[in-house]
């Protein structure tokens, strides 16, 4: 299989629903915590080492063949906010649809049967990477990158931030994405031996709190 499949999967235009989600950026913008490129970078860095690391490790473990049901439960336990659990399953379901059309595989069909209302997105992402013939580390990178690219592009829309500045933020985070992907692969390999409790559970209180505040707004631009 081709490594270039990673470019297809990680492309922001891959039709899997991500465009309607801000990764917590909309709540942080409203709270006045993201006001420009500098605070966006700090937001993305915090999200990368918490939700990003967890997603990255879950996705990698899925590529390595850890039982999706166990991974989905592990994702639930690492996502206290019900608004975020709902968003993750919605995105998982949308990704699965796109994945089954793009890289048809019995394993993806089975996953759709097992989770008719959607599994957590990183779990689906890992199995999608598998169906696309990608390596564990590819899924680790893809999940880690999504954890920061989503908020960055949402902030361009929310603050009319200069898109060059937002892209430069992502570029500056690249070495840290390497670090997170490496850690995620290590943790996922440990989870293959020791079970899903070995997966990281790094959390970000303000992402959890912000997600619930956001879900309670009557008017918002993004679904999460």
């Amino acid at each position: 299989m081709s490594r270039a499949a990673l470019l297809v999967l990680a492309d922001g235009r891959f039709p899997a629903g991500g465009h309607a989600h801000s990764g917590g950026a909309e709540a942080a913008v409203k709270a006045g915590r993201i006001t420009g490129a500098e605070s966006l970078e700090s937001f993305c860095r915090g999200r990368l080492y918490t939700a990003g690391l967890v997603s990255s490790a879950l996705a990698t473990a899925a590529v390595l063949g850890v039982d999706p049901r166990q991974l989905d439960e592990a994702a639930d336990a690492r996502t206290p906010s019900p608004a975020l659990r709902v968003a993750a399953r919605k995105l998982g379901r949308q990704l699965l649809r796109a994945a089954r059309a793009t890289w048809p595989s019995p394993e993806l069909d089975a996953l759709a049967g097992q989770f008719p209302k959607g599994a957590h997105q990183p779990v689906v992402l890992g199995l999608t990477a598998r169906a696309a013939g990608l390596e564990p580390v590819d899924a680790a990178y893809c999940a880690a990158y999504e954890s920061v690219s989503g908020p960055a592009s949402a902030t361009v829309r929310l603050l009319s931030l200069d898109p060059f500045d937002a892209t430069a933020v992502l570029a500056r985070l690249a070495p840290e994405l390497d670090r997170v992907a490496t850690r995620a692969v290590e943790a996922a390999r440990t989870a293959v031996e020791e079970g899903v409790d070995a997966l990281p559970s790094a959390s970000a209180p303000l992402l959890e709190i912000g997600a619930e505040l956001h879900a309670a707004w009557p008017v918002r631009l993004f679904a999460s």
């Binding site: 080492y49 918490t50 840290e176 409790d197 209180p205 709190i209």
Partner: protein
């Protein structure tokens, strides 16, 4: 764990069991070194134990463990006499504080210690693991204060794992302070707040009737977990405001 050079190792244990007369007995109440357990007043049905820090809190290289085992039908409430302060030790290196709680079917534990304060230069890992039976009940409060007044915090990593009937319902780790992964004080994680806390309430009836998610203020929410449990997450500028938020949440959750 990093090398514990000449650190103090101490394990305090307590066991609560149904005394057969509608009350709870404490057959085991074992203090160890700096970890002293004292039975204080409290009702016969729900004895109260205070954790008294006979020495200062964990220093670099120390490894403290506290275990509580609340057996079938028993009730126990545990508090602490004062805040625990993580301090830098003479030996550089991480200190570790493990809390292991087991609550059997039909039993109830209220675990309400005072704050954990991460003093400048300290380096502490706190691991709290709770195993509950399917019909066990729990109220647990955790508060972390980053630095004494006007002080930069030390490094603090705190993992909280809740299992109910063998299934992991919550697994959360928060790392902050110098040396923690980047962004910990940024807009996604703490954004300058110096006190962060959680209140975990487990009730078998929450499985049927989950607590609805509710915003309690700009810095606090209560959410239903994917299991018979509700979690309050709160951030605040200081310990006092944090406690106020958690107390209000507790009063609303456990009338």
């Amino acid at each position: 764990m990093t090398a514990a050079v000449a650190g103090v190792r101490a394990t305090a244990r307590m066991v609560a069991r149904d005394d057969g007369r509608g009350g709870t007995a404490l057959p085991v109440l074992e203090s160890d070194g700096p970890l002293a357990l004292r039975r204080t007043r409290g009702s016969g049905a729900e004895p109260r134990v205070m954790l008294v820090g006979a020495m200062s809190g964990p220093l670099g290289g120390d490894h403290f463990t506290v275990t509580a085992d609340v057996r079938e039908g028993a009730r126990l409430c545990v508090g602490s006499a004062a805040a625990t302060i993580a301090l830098p030790g003479q030996t550089k290196g991480e200190a570790r504080y493990d809390v292991r709680l087991t609550v059997a079917d039909g039993a109830e534990l209220r675990w309400l210690p005072e704050q954990l304060i991460s003093a400048g230069g300290s380096d502490l890992y706190v691991g709290t693991r709770i195993d509950l039976g399917a019909t066990a009940r729990l109220v647990l409060r955790e508060e972390q204060v980053l630095g004494r007044v006007g002080e930069e915090p030390g490094r603090l990593t705190s993992r909280l794992v809740l299992r109910v009937a063998g299934r992991t319902v919550l697994d959360q780790e928060l790392a902050c302070g110098p040396g923690a992964p980047g962004g910990w004080d940024g807009p996604a994680v703490l954004a300058g707040h110096r006190a962060v806390g959680q209140l975990l309430v487990v009730r078998p009836e929450f499985a049927e009737e989950p607590v609805p998610a509710r915003v309690l203020g700009e810095g606090a929410v209560v959410v239903p977990l994917a299991g018979p449990a509700a979690l309050v997450t709160a951030v605040a500028p200081d310990a006092l405001l944090l406690r106020r938020a958690l107390d209000a949440a507790l009063a609303a959750l456990v009338p």
